[in-house]
Symmetry: C2
Subunit: 298 residues, 2 copies
């Protein structure tokens, strides 16, 4: 562990991920725990970090995500669009019990009209721009709360959020539809439902229960039902986000399966797509931020 | 209890309601428990009924609702539209441990295209038609799974279901929006969001998260946020169900607050509305069915 210079942290609602970093920006080791922000009281953050990284503390920690929200460790203000994804003047330092500990938290981004916020995704965008400095266009970050972000000249110009992942989670595991959900994937059922929701977004409310009814009447198997639920929700999101992707190139930053689903849906709409892996972009973003904050020490 | 002739039962997913009935169709007493179908195994139905009505059993029992589903006490088949709301040839008798017990369960209704099902609402419709025999038009039954039903010449012609109540329950108590939910009601915020969702149904996916963002940015108070969530979901439902209500008279059968919300939303769309109380219609429907089954004994 001697070559660990600092610790990059992505601290979200449901997870805590840490990367032990060398000065040159390489990852020595990745660690994670399920001590997400949602499960922690304000005095629980430092012990959770210690539990994961005791052997490499008190090396400096740079964190992004919900750890900087009002319910987090220290509230980092929002920068307002249009702005760079990383805003050094808004970085906050967390108060720690252990005096030698240095924990800095990156700010989020807000937009007034229409109202929207992000925390964590801006760091992935910073990472993407550090790898693709000439990028100009739209970035889609699928997840619990999928973000669509218009990026131009290195700045976040505007963005919007759809709760698609959270809706899918609730409907597939807690609603009446849970009785009809398989584990497999039916790509053509998915794309067919994406098309339904994009072309007739008003049909969504009735189409959702139809999945249950068709399944009860033996007209739809469980794998297709799950794929159709995903397709209806992603299609409804694409209908909502049409101004973001229509006539644009889209870079998708996400995890493999989910990125693939969005890519498939967008390709049918003749949208050119490139993809990047979310975790890589988070690390790249934290490395870029670290080099800004600590300057020549990187 | 000597004048109790039979027991009318509405046995849904989450509740068991029983009315002790006289021969003349009057209610002697109403009882209920939370022994809903979802919490019972097949051998749990008879004890649950005994627990609620031991003192008046083995008087004949006539039941409607999810008790007749595949996961219920005895599976009552679906009648297929177009059909009467009550279909005597499809009534099933539950197998009971207690040989003197007589429990009959009413059938549900299904529709093949588009696929849809109902269990319980058909009895409320039968009740409404027994009170309003000349009714021709559309009946809306708001609830966990809101039904829109086209009724003509005493028959259910077609129907569709929206999971609006279930969606509202999940989003308001289990999603990130739960942090922004008040207990009060803001009628103008509700109607404004109904209008947004009806006129731009494609906006739903982004509008949902905006409630959270506006609340975080202090642009929306918690009562208005809850009313807007309800308005967006009911508006999305109305957009989906437009062929049912456009240019029609609508009878709403529901509980007070929910019926009022639907009534307010429909009146803005210049739809004439009448309302009836769900529980009354359930009892009327069970009385009408009982008189069909037992003939002159009523």
């Amino acid at each position: 562990m001697n070559d660990v210079a600092w610790i990059a942290v992505d601290w979200g609602t449901s997870h805590l991920r840490a990367w032990l970093m060398r000065f040159d920006g390489r990852v020595v080791e990745q660690r994670q725990s399920d001590s997400g922000m949602a499960d922690l009281t304000p005095d629980g953050f430092e012990p959770a970090l210690q539990a994961l990284c005791a052997d490499v503390l008190p090396r400096p920690v740079l964190a992004c995500g919900m750890v900087g929200s009002k319910q987090g460790w220290a509230e980092a203000p929002y920068a307002e669009v249009p702005c760079m994804p990383f805003n050094i003047s808004l970085v906050v330092t967390a108060v720690t019990e252990q005096p030698t500990l240095s924990v800095r938290i990156l700010s989020g981004i807000k937009q007034s009209n229409p109202a929207d916020v992000m925390r964590g995704e801006e760091t992935q965008i910073a990472g993407y721009l550090s790898v693709n400095p000439e990028f100009d266009g739209v970035i889609c970050l699928p997840g619990t709360h999928t973000k669509w972000v218009h990026v131009s000249a290195g700045e976040i110009v505007s963005f919007r959020t759809a709760m698609t992942g959270e809706l899918f989670g609730l409907l597939s595991t807690q609603s009446v539809l849970r009785h009809s959900m398989g584990k497999g994937w039916d790509a053509s059922a998915f794309l067919d439902s994406v098309d339904t929701a994009i072309s007739r977004p008003e049909s969504l409310a009735a189409e959702l229960f139809s999945l249950r009814a068709k399944n009860l009447l033996n007209e739809l198997d469980n794998d297709a039902a799950r794929s159709r639920l995903s397709g209806l929700l992603i299609g409804a999101e694409l209908a909502s986000m049409r101004p973001y992707w229509l006539g644009q190139k889209v870079a998708i930053i996400g995890v493999h399966n989910l990125s693939q689903a969005y890519e498939a849906a967008l390709i049918v709409q003749r949208v050119p797509v490139v993809t990047a892996f979310a975790e890589d972009m988070t690390v790249s973003g934290l490395v870029a931020a670290y080099s800004h904050i600590y300057g020549d020490r990187v």
